[in-house]
Symmetry: C3
Subunit: 408 residues, 3 copies
């Protein structure tokens, strides 16, 4: 029935728009949590990711991720987009849930997200040229190939691995890249000095908060669209589990961190919300509201411990990307084997195997990319550039050139 395709497709297009809007959320969160002097640099990276990411996904990503029949590990359906036609018109029998064009665009919006996660972690010290090269390879090749293993119908899909909307396929793929990157990059100057952990508190809490609210809004599309149709029961359940996990993650992180640190820390609250969102993402369509709340509560605790752990390991992650996207991404993926409709020992083991496979491809590929960049053009800006700010050195401009004291 064409009417049903029309409804489903409307829902999917809206979800696509919401996932696109997440890029503003990421940008606001990242610049909010970093220093004023590196603001343009971060904005530039984010704009690069969404624009170049879409072009690359059109050129080759989409056909690497969804190669059709393939060996389950690597396939490629050719360069560019080729819409299926019937008598010269778009073949609407492509799917009941969306058209070929919607499929591409929805998946393309996801693709850029993985690189954006890395962007936050490496902020304030990476060379922009090196980062752009990383983005091109990671979004253009690694993300879609890794994605094909599950969403493209590859070997992990055959094995029964479950990842509804990408706790692993998107978030931990970004998170592993972030982890390798900050390990190879080293910490920002002054972050770890004389055994102490320096505070680098960022330049705008309103932007960080706005970023998280926009990301939460975007998750309506990220998870809601991953139903791949407008099925009323499934989409609405997904939105409920998504929102409850976000709420529970925030409250849990707030309570746990305020008990631990005797402080009402807004950034912990915000990262707790994100942790809940990442945690529910792998099984948002398989959980009850109670499951979702439990997953969120645990994610909130994980965030607080995870941020401390990353610091303890002397890894410098300005926005908490590793705790949010990698650790909670793994948590969410494993939670599919513990809570909800799919819970069971077999499923849990399969989830573990999936996590391991993604760890392998992401660690190896990001290490190779970043290591080669490091020994060739270099990963890191000079100490002078870092101290004076990347905005002035890489972009010849301050982010607020006519504000406050700078006012003309």
């Amino acid at each position: 029935m064409e009417g049903l395709l029309t409804i489903n497709n409307v829902w999917m297009m809206i979800c696509t728009a919401l996932v696109f809007f997440m890029h503003l959320g990421f940008a606001f969160l990242e610049i909010g949590l970093t220093r004023q002097k590196n603001t343009i640099n971060i904005l530039f990276k984010n704009v690069f990711i969404i624009t170049m990411g879409l072009l690359l996904y059109g050129l080759l990503g989409f056909n690497l991720m969804y190669p059709g029949d393939f060996n389950g590990y690597l396939g490629f359906a050719g360069f560019g987009l080729s819409a299926p036609l019937v008598d010269g018109a778009l073949d609407l029998a492509y799917s009941e849930g969306y058209t070929y064009w919607t499929d591409f665009l929805f998946q393309g919006m996801f693709a850029a997200t993985a690189a954006t996660i890395v962007s936050g972690a490496v902020a304030e010290r990476i060379k922009i040229n090196s980062f752009m090269i990383f983005v091109v390879i990671y979004v253009g090749l690694v993300y879609p190939i890794a994605g094909s293993w599950k969403w493209g119908g590859g070997f992990l899909d055959e094995m029964g691995f479950y990842d509804f909307a990408g706790s692993t396929l998107v978030h931990s793929v970004g998170g592993w890249g972030a982890l390798i990157a900050i390990w190879l990059l080293g910490a920002r100057i002054g972050k770890f000095k004389d055994g102490k952990i320096g505070a680098f508190p960022g330049h705008s809490m309103p932007m960080a908060t706005a970023g998280v609210i926009i990301l939460w809004l975007g998750w309506f599309g990220f998870n809601g669209g991953s139903v791949l149709s407008a099925d009323p029961g499934l989409t609405s359940l997904t939105l409920v589990t998504t929102c409850l996990a976000a709420a529970a993650g925030g409250v849990s992180s707030f309570i746990f961190s305020s008990l631990l640190y005797k402080n009402y820390d807004i950034t912990m609250y915000l990262n707790g919300i994100l942790g809940g969102l990442v945690g529910i993402t792998a099984g948002a369509d398989q959980m009850s509201p109670t499951d979702a709340i439990l997953i969120g509560v645990i994610a909130g605790v994980i965030i607080v411990l995870g941020v401390a752990l990353v610091d303890r390991l002397r890894l410098d992650d300005p926005v908490g990307a590793v705790a949010v996207h990698l650790i909670c991404g793994i948590w969410g993926t494993l939670a599919v084997g513990i809570f909800g409709n799919l819970a069971g020992v077999d499923q849990f083991v399969t989830q573990l195997i999936g996590v391991g496979c993604y760890a392998a491809i992401c660690v190896v590929s990001s290490f190779l990319i970043f290591y080669i960049l490091k020994i060739t053009i270099g990963l890191r800006v000079s100490a002078k550039e870092e101290t004076e700010g990347l905005d002035i050195h890489e972009h010849g401009m301050d982010a607020y050139p006519d504000f406050g004291l700078n006012q003309q």
Copy 2:
């Protein structure tokens, strides 16, 4: 027909997302109109309201507000969410307009709004612990019980009281709480001194403006979703009346205030828009475009007079919440008896009774909550905290720690 449920449910889910997004609008508006030193505190309150509000609404609010068959005054369908099932699957016959899950989430997003309205009024001086306790009781108990009287099919519904999307049930419920709160709290230090009214102009007009535009956008969902289906005639009429009332409220407030004060005051323009939106909310589906414009024009004038009146009463309302949400909420509720399809003396009297009932429950309950808090843990921060800012004292942090002069 399942197709129709699917369409309706898509519309309701989108409206849910838009109402969720209003929380960013409220946050931006409140921090924009208050001082820099209390920014994190306000953001924290807003994040608390949306996260804790959703959890509470799931735990008990939804079942207090929609108890099914009840005595018309107080009913409770039990703790937690219990989706109606048929053969283990969600019963899609629950409603033609939405699924059980969508119903919960849409209403849950509304619930948090009432508390957010109070948040703005008490800004810059309330103890955060006291405010959080108020939120838990007001969102968890008062709002849903009061709501059940009309939307849950209670005695005011039986009597013919009409409140389409909540001029009274949401906005004046928040507004009464705000009024009682600022009366018990007292004014900010320096606001009323030597018979003069001090100017506390806020710290970011761009954020205030962005907040209002986001709130207007959110009202597409707030009113549009209150049709409770995607009925093409009703939803689109509702959007037209909503937008025309907003536009008329803004223009009217701008013209009236510039005649009165010889100044093009952006905050009056913005509050006029909000006044128009609150004013149309009770009858957005019952008005013609001309009615909507008239309701908006009057709301715009009310805003200008209302803000002056609140000042005259020596009540300190940093964001104009009482004028916008309480006074225009009452205006909108009464307007249902004056304009549009339901106009008539009987309806007007019924509307008055409804306004009175909500005044009673809200004034009594907020007074009890705030008064008990005041004589126990206290409502107000110390003069030192207030002067130096709540951000440093309650959150150990400035909202812009690396900005401008603070830059590292």
Copy 3:
């Protein structure tokens, strides 16, 4: 089938909301690229445009633009909105794609856009009263009359002129007004001095970036809604071409400007994205992905050259409105004759004629309006006001009265 109308109408209402949201995008972009001292003035203009614009479009614009049967040049169906009724209820047979109300509101959101484009160009020096008078005439009369020539079924429509979503009807209509305005207004003090071009770099790159991302999001509705139904193939193709052109415009502008100026300039990247969006707008439903990318790439180059050209002509356009909306608007309109389904010499000539007709009406009418304003109440604020800022002089207030050094 009523179900199909319901779906289509849901899509159109969402697109309406997205186009409304573009007004926040425009506001953020404009204030981001201008100086702090003129921020409230710009916000005020934007709020005026959307509120007064909607009222005017309801009063007369809609019936000037869609007069029904008319001579093809000028028609008017009467003041106010008159919904078609059947037995007292809204006639749902009005269209298969939307109701009468949705039609009005979607078109009303478009109408205000043209004036907003002018707002950016004249920023920081125009008298607000003069600007408001211009808006009333341009949105109330010029835009809808010009629009009727094509979208109202007028002579250009009969001739086969094609402008899917308004590269010409919206963007170049605004762009011509901007060009005439900045020519009559003159440059800001200090912009062109001793043969040099002064740098006036704006006060917030985060806001400028957020503005562009919000505008891109809004374009999902601007172009997606211009299908005038939720047709799955056409709407989704339109979103794909829109996003690819935006991405290609940004990347092309980035690469071209960094080769030319040896600098990674974020404002060029952002304007490149906008150029791509404006460029694809005339033919977004007629292009293949490859066509869209090519149109975007060329738009990105045009932006870089266009901004330089405007400077060379000693015209002062603070936000690059002429390059983005006028030059890329013309480019997009002509591109319909070069790429995609309609490509051909005849079509190209028709497109040229259309561009010329719109140039004529817009240049003549904006010249008349601005010239009469100039010789009567004056167009420009005093040198003192301009130097000290329009916020203090026209609005009695700073945009950040309690921020940084201003903090109380």
